[in-house]
């Protein structure tokens, strides 16, 4: 592949350069991911542990007075684990980007790429591919463990579409941080806000059963819309689907700007 050095991420680039760079980075990212057990195993095992712990360990919560969910508690928790895995696939790809900066690889990449926006796009494809592997495994385990799906095929398409958007939300945030700090030490800054947003949503029971400050926090938390929509789609009883899609698309736009402005900052940094 021919890569012409450029000082600007947009000006004077060959048509198709964006995708050439993106696909090359995506191939390299997935090649590395699959070949390194220290990367692939934690990303597969953690969602399964969360699923086992929440769906298995907390199944009694399905009997709490006032809790109703047509598809059962396993499906209720599956949606949380799916949203979390999706966002964390994006986050972990941000870690990879930060690590590539720390090792000097990303800097060399910046010199070689004919359109540097392709770098951001390439890692986004890596995030989506990693999430596809993780979510396939989590779904298979959930089905084997007896998860019921009462939504139809279109609902499921919507569910996985929402998961794909959440991958990009997580990645957009983490990539913006990675481009700005260019060190793996910024990991907690990538992880903590996402972790908090996810856990300040109705994780264990529905919003109506939450009381006190967490109810107030969950009521204005976009992650609540994601969980409500996901649970609605898996059970076929739609709840806040349009709101969730709107929130996810809005966040992707916002974090897209955050990522690209981070890329500009990385380009101009000494």
């Amino acid at each position: 592949m021919s890569m012409v050095p450029s000082n600007d991420s947009r000006a004077g680039v060959a048509p198709g350069g964006l995708w050439r760079v993106a696909l090359t980075i995506a191939w390299r990212g997935m090649h590395t991911y699959i070949r390194r057990p220290d990367l692939i195993f934690p990303s597969l095992i953690f969602p399964l542990v969360f699923f086992a712990s929440f769906a298995g360990g907390l199944s009694a919560l399905g009997k709490v007075p006032g809790f109703t969910f047509p598809a059962g508690y396993t499906a209720f928790q599956f949606v949380f684990v799916m949203c979390q895995s999706a966002m964390f696939s994006g986050l972990f790809t941000g870690f990879t980007l930060a690590f590539d900066f720390e090792s000097g690889f990303a800097r060399r990449l910046m010199l070689a790429a004919e359109d540097r926006r392709g770098i951001a796009l390439g890692y986004a494809i890596v995030a989506l591919s990693r999430a596809a592997i993780t979510l396939t495994l989590v779904t298979a385990v959930a089905l084997v463990s007896g998860m019921r799906i009462t939504g139809n095929g279109v609902d499921l398409f919507g569910l996985y579409g929402l998961a794909a958007l959440l991958v990009l939300v997580g990645y957009g945030w983490a990539a913006g941080v990675a481009f700005r700090f260019r060190t793996i030490q910024a990991g907690p800054l990538m992880q903590t806000p996402v972790f908090l947003i996810l856990f300040l949503a109705p994780v264990y029971v529905s919003l109506t059963l939450l009381k006190g400050w967490i109810h107030a926090a969950a009521s204005v938390n976009p992650a609540t819309a994601f969980l409500d929509a996901g649970r609605g789609l898996i059970s076929g009883v739609h709840n806040h689907t349009a709101l969730a899609y709107a929130c996810a698309l809005g966040l992707i736009l916002l974090f897209g700007i955050w990522t690209l402005s981070g890329l500009r900052r990385a380009e101009t940094s000494p």
């Binding site: 086992a52 009694a60 006190g212």
Partner: protein, 256 residues
């Protein structure tokens, strides 16, 4: 004298943790944030038939002591691995210090940090509305058990650092221990773990008994069965970890 050597190394070990905000922050704030989130999110579990208390925060605070001990494992192991990587440990081994004091000093410091962090969790818990049914005496037992648990986990961190000599490898243990906490009676009492296989795993998981010992003092008062099981697990884990540390130390000093 051995006691002087242990004392000096214990103070160094304590200062190393207390002076580094990035080590202190997770010990204090991470368990408290998780407690706040879980206690609020899982409050409705208290409405289940058979749940032992109406206060979920009193039920859940036990997990904070275990999480604190897990951070001690990481901090102790990372600090020791740093000493190994920087060559400080090898220089220390060349001094007339007795071998036993190399580890004992570190672990006495860890136990003191464990007692301190347990006292902090008790105070924060009281502010958050926990009720310690066993009273002041129970608080002292919580501190003693917290200190012993932290020492046991810290010794595991030492063993890992001595075997691998790598801070990164020690950090890799953290998720493994998180799995043990997740697959225990951390969120619900064992009698309410409805899923068969999960109930079996929680029954075999020693972390369940550690958590239940702390929890018993908050909820039931003086439950001697829960207490002896908790102390036995902490002590057993400590003995295993010390044996592993001792073997790893011998091997490392031979290499040195």
């Amino acid at each position: 004298m051995l006691s002087t050597q242990v004392n000096v190394l214990a103070r160094r070990s304590m200062r190393k943790t207390l002076r580094q905000p990035f080590q202190l922050f997770p010990i204090v704030f991470f368990p408290i944030i998780l407690l706040a989130v879980n206690a609020s999110g899982l409050k409705s579990a208290t409405e289940l038939v058979g749940f032992p208390t109406r206060s979920y925060v009193s039920f859940a605070i036990a997990v904070a002591f275990i999480q604190g001990a897990m951070f001690a494992l990481i901090n102790t192991g990372t600090n020791l691995a740093e000493d190994i990587e920087s060559g400080f440990f090898s220089r220390l081994a060349l001094t007339p210090l007795r071998r036993v004091s190399l580890i004992a000093g570190l672990l006495v410091g860890v136990a003191a940090i464990g007692a301190l962090q347990s006292a902090v969790y008790i105070l924060i818990g009281l502010v958050a509305g926990t009720h310690l049914d066993a009273g002041f005496g129970g608080a002292l037992v919580v501190i003693a058990l917290g200190s012993l648990t932290t020492l046991a986990f810290g010794a595991l961190g030492c063993a890992a650092a001595l075997w691998t000599g790598s801070g990164e490898a020690v950090q890799g243990l953290f998720p493994l221990f998180f799995v043990f906490v997740f697959l225990s009676s951390s969120n619900l009492p064992r009698n309410l773990l409805g899923t068969g296989w999960f109930h079996t795993v929680a029954n075999w998981n020693p972390i369940s008994y550690l958590i239940e010992a702390f929890r018993s003092l908050y909820i039931y008062g003086w439950d001697l069965t829960a207490l002896w099981r908790g102390f036995a697990v902490a002590a057993g884990l400590g003995v295993i970890a010390l044996l592993a540390s001792s073997g790893a130390l011998r091997k490392r000093l031979q290499r040195t």
